[in-house]
Amino acid sequence: MYKDLYQHPDYYQLDELLTDEHKLIRDTVRQYVKKSLSPIIEDYAQRAEFPTHIVKELADIGAFGPSIPAEYGGGGLDYISYGIIMQELERCDSGVRSTASVQGSLVMYPIYKFGSEMQRRKYLPKLGSGEFLGCFGLTEPDHGSNPAGMITNIKDAGDHVILNGAKMWISNSPFADVAVVWAKDEAGDIRGLIVERGMEGFTTPETKGKWSLRASATGELVFDNVKVPKENIFPEVKGLKGPLTCLSSARYGIAWGALGAAMDCYDSALRYSKERIQFERPIGQFQLTQKKLAEMITEITKSQLMVWRLGVLMNEGRATPAQISMAKRNSVEVALNIAREARQIHGGMGITGEYSIMRHMMNLESVVTYEGTHDIHLLITGMDITGLNAFK
């Protein structure tokens, strides 16, 4: 039987920066992952199937909308707790973390932040309990890094609007009950609205043949003259601020989450290097292996400090989108590099499903691209420090 032997690397005793509640939350998610997810995830990823039963389980442990107030079905936790939950889930698989971060940051968060009280009451408890799965529609086939160019649109038709267009690369879409969709109104302003499965003209074809996030469902959102009641439109927010606010929250979760994948790769490589014997000694005794491992733990430790500090700033309401970009970009890059080096330490075994390394590596190719590509985040940092915009 599969045994998840993961042990959390904490080289600088950063646990001392966490509260008892943070550690309790981490233990909870880690126990759930070890008991229920680790034994099944590889099989689902190999078969490119989304384990739908985990939606309820993730809700039951409280992984959906942890920072949304409890009265709306969230967890009422701080941002460090949210980061810890994402880290423990992505330690298992980026696809599982994606499911949870889309539900929390990209569906529940905008409904909580921008929704009417009626929208909050109607959707948030069901999303928090896992009765509803949600998805977030911003990216379009021809508008990825440049969402302002979107062509999905709504037209006023009395008590409802008519929605037309298409969204692409949407996590959870094939199984989603509701979609938070961003579309331009007739004045050209970007508006957010909640589209429900079953509305006529709304379909969610699945994206097949992915080599990444194989245990998570990805698809399109296609709107062909969909009638959406006006009460489903977010009343106040207009412009890119709406979706970008959600993305800041999700990117923050990725900054913690991707480090989870990095720590899993490091932990596995460290263990393997002490067990694998070549030339009558464990390969961990060779300098080149030690170099890899030492660099991994150095990068992990630096990044752990970075996301913890970002969490403190988030809790105080002082984190800037540019600071979040830097952490997201750094964590994913660190994770990708560590996954690659860890795969080498595992030798041939590293390419098999016996170990999580190759799955993490392939998953991270999505993570480095979605929610702001690696290059775009670099340019956000560049713009922030120079005051000069490289996008225009």
Binding site: D20, I25, I61, A70, G75
Partner: protein
């Protein structure tokens, strides 16, 4: 139904054990601590199940410093209603039993549960001492517990089978594997634990009866020798002449 569950803090099972002060103290540096699994998985969870079935309350009690509150919060997150921490370093089993007995004597608990042992010092005696001090019946190594009114039915594993017995409340029992299924606290339980009462009390006149002279680690395990299945005589020879076990 009013239940008291005794919980201990122990090093995580993956801890590398080392000693300080001339091998008289456990070196707790960089050690991760957890709630004693027998206390958590079996005693506490069964207590919560019985409370959920019959109503009442579950109180957890721990003897230790403020850094033990991490495991106390976990017990509250799993489902205990309130907690008591006796603010003292546990010196030996009698010290712990006496401190808990002094607290529990007049609180009207129907029964007290502990794990069958703690996984650090493996004493297995606090529950028995506690029962003795309270003059209550003691049932050790229970694998099941049902309570109806003032009567409890417990099963114990004994050599080659099981023993079923009945006892009237109040009593003390130590819980073995099988009494309940471990629970993972969920985040709603963790946040609910924030507002559950945790009372800190002084240890009273608890006394230790023993002192530690020294600890010693077992000899390090040596490498495994593989014998070809075609040469069982080599195995016999090694068992005879090297291991000297036959």
């Amino acid at each position: 139904m009013k239940i008291l569950v005794c919980i201990s803090k122990v090093p995580d099972t993956t801890t590398k054990i080392a000693f300080t002060d001339n091998n008289t103290k456990f070196n707790s540096d960089k050690v991760q601590f957890i709630m004693n699994p027998y206390d958590e998985w079996y005693a506490l969870v069964r207590a919560c199940e019985l409370k959920e079935k019959h109503g009442g309350s579950v109180t957890v009690i721990n003897v230790g410093g403020a850094d033990n509150e991490q495991i106390i919060r976990r017990a509250l997150a799993i489902g205990a209603d309130d907690a008591v921490r006796i603010d003292a370093e546990p010196q030996d089993s009698f010290f712990v039993a006496e401190a808990i007995a002094a607290y529990a004597a007049d609180k009207g608990f129907d029964f007290i549960l502990t794990g069958k042992e703690t996984i650090d010092y493996n004493g297995s005696v606090v529950a028995g001492m506690l029962a003795g001090l309270l003059n209550w019946p003691f049932i050790s190594l229970a694998v099941s517990l049902e309570v109806e009114g003032n009567t409890a039915t417990l099963e114990r594993e004994i050599s080659g089978g099981k023993e079923k017995l009945q006892v009237n409340t109040p009593f003390v029992a130590s819980a073995s594997k099988g009494m309940a299924e471990a629970r993972i606290p969920n985040i709603r339980g963790i946040t609910a634990a924030r507002t559950k009462p945790l009372t800190v009390i002084a240890p009273g006149n608890a006394t230790a009866l023993t002192t530690i002279k020294s600890y010693k680690l077992p000899a390090e395990k040596t490498g495994v020798k593989l014998i070809s299945a075609d040469h069982p005589e080599q195995l016999i020879d090694l068992l005879h002449n090297e291991a000297k076990v036959i």
